[in-house]
Amino acid sequence: MTDVRRIEAGQAPRDDADAGRDAAVDLSTVLAGVELPNPILTASGCFASGPEIDRFYDVEQLGAIVVKSITLEPREGLPTPRMAETPSGMLNAIGLQNPGIDAWLDNDLPWLQGKGARVVASIAGKTVADFREVARRLRHRAGIVAIEVNLSCPNVDHRGLVFACSPTASAEVITAVRREVDVPVLAKLTSDVTDVVSVAQAVVDAGAHGLTLINTVLGMSIDPDTGRPALSNGYGGLSGPAIRPIAIRNVHQVHQALPETPILGCGGVRDVTDVVQFLRAGASAVSVGTTTFVDPFAGQRLIAELRRWMAERGITSVSELIGAVHPWT
């Protein structure tokens, strides 16, 4: 049999000859005041709460773990089919299936605390009061370094319109959450708006410490033979490399308008060059989502690849890359 290269758990593959040069690279970054050992995070909804991927590698190596969105009440989510593959991407409509904040605090958080992971708690809700109550219950919890507010939820008090599509509604949620929390707040925005900068400005004015850009892009796929939508929900969120250029544009646009606002870049990150693109566009860190579905080791791999990529170019600090996009003229 061919040689089996056994890689011990917790060790990214590396070549000893390059170890010294790689060691000179400082991958640490600061996101909305939170110090992280590296800029590779998970994307909400693409990592469950951690133990599933910990079967492959020690997940506390990640810069931070953005967990699947937590709601006040437990949710079972939508019926299947919940997923459809599309060119270089996929659509999903899960319906925020999660155990609810109380069960999450009892079961999921202690596991993450035991691992010593840095946790970004993603929260979702149907009303402003829902968001606020979930945020309140997350107070004084060890391991939680930030809260990400998933604003791409239908607002039941406003005809089911998605919070993130309205600067006012988004700001209301952030104001309410800010009253409760003791850690920095990231507002996760959607690209499905006419002017993302106006929504970004509104949530920053409401007290968001940073932004996550972007959530999935609303899409649809139809079975040509049956005439049925590919998803039981009809519409779903498009993710994967297909949306990467849209995400990069959003990060760049917001960073140009609000250069002081920290950004967590998200959308279609697959390789180290994608990470670098997001950093250059203005992100302080990046979230990896759909790629984990294809490559369970994606987070660990990207940390190693980024270190190598920077070392090969003599770049010693992530901060050298953040916002480093140069005009043609």
Partner: protein, 313 residues
């Protein structure tokens, strides 16, 4: 991702899944289906019947891995460390997989999922397979036989050419009953049309099933009526296969009567069929097959002569 054949990434000394670059040892037709045999020692030594592997595929615009039930593993002998899967080409990913050549390298994650639970006491086991769903049941049959248990089988398919591994099924079991939707082989009908009779004749104490979800629903509902334990390996659209995306859920009735969405890739694919809330799924059993009763031929009125029987000599 690792690319050289033989490389693997994962935890050592556990049953946890690994990611491995595997050499293709064989790719051939298996009746109406395809068989892929790959060199995967780290997966072969961890695998159990009912589990699956998730294979990265090429082809235009494909992004996600494709899940395949493990049909056979070889842990000993000259073929040690191989994993076989059987599949039907019905999309760009599986079409691409029919084009790989021997010595090509494929990227595989596995073994994944919860395997079939094995009986803790002596009991006759009935395995019910539909189409290429028979493949993982042959792997299960080997395990059950090794434990000294009696194994009987019902194999169903749309037509004769879509019956998988007839000879293998006969070799591994005490009895096999074949059914086809069009009557081209075995009993004209569906697996559930013969289920009760086979259970009675073979004194089956447990049923294991794998095949299309509507078939699994029908088998589960019949077994529930007969108060017979039933374990089914389901098939649902899967993005990740490793428990993080929540796309492949099945509604499972809990002891307190509530229905919870459970992930087929990590809580399954093997579930207690009687506890699946089938009415909350899109999988209908469908109308029964209309099988025209064959008219009994009238007995000949006169005995044939030697000349009638053998022809003029």
């Amino acid at each position: 991702m690792a690319s050289r054949a033989g490389t693997m990434q994962g935890r050592i000394g556990t049953d946890d899944p690994v990611q491995a670059s595997c050499e293709v040892l064989a790719r051939r037709r298996e009746g109406a289906y395809w068989l892929l045999s790959i060199a995967c020692p780290s997966i072969a030594e961890r695998a159990k019947p009912g589990q699956f592997v998730n294979i990265a595929v090429g082809g235009f615009g494909t992004l996600l891995r494709r899940p395949f039930s493990i049909a056979r593993v070889s842990k000993q002998g000259v073929a040690a460390g191989t994993v076989d899967v059987v599949f039907d080409a019905h999309g760009p990913g599986t079409d691409w997989l029919t084009t790989v050549s021997v010595h090509d390298v494929v990227d595989v994650v596995g073994p994944l999922g919860t395997p079939f639970p094995l009986p803790q006491r002596k009991v006759a086991c009935l395995l019910v397979g539909g189409g290429y769903g028979v493949a993982p049941l042959l792997y299960l049959a080997e395990e059950l036989t090794r434990k000294g248990l009696r194994v009987d089988m019902i194999v169903g398919a749309a037509s004769q050419e879509r019956i998988l591994s007839q000879i293998e099924a006969k070799r591994l079991t005490a009895s096999v009953t074949f059914t086809t939707d069009d009557g081209s082989y075995g009993v004209h009908g569906r697996v559930t049309d013969v289920l009760e009779e086979v259970v009675e004749n073979c004194h089956s104490g447990v049923v294991y099933a794998c095949g299309p979800n509507p078939m699994l629903r029908a088998v589960s509902e019949r077994c529930k009526e007969m108060k017979l334990p039933v374990q089914v390996a389901v098939e649902e659209h899967m993005a990740c296969g490793i428990g993080v995306c929540f796309t492949c859920v099945m509604p499972m009735r809990q002891k307190d009567g509530t229905v919870r969405m459970k992930r087929s890739c990590i809580d399954g694919p093997v579930f207690n069929g009687a506890r699946i809330a089938w009415e909350a799924t899109r999988f209908d059993v469908g109308p029964p097959l209309l099988v025209e009763p064959e008219e009994a031929e009238a007995p000949p009125e006169v005995r044939p002569s030697e000349a009638d029987l053998w022809g003029e000599s």
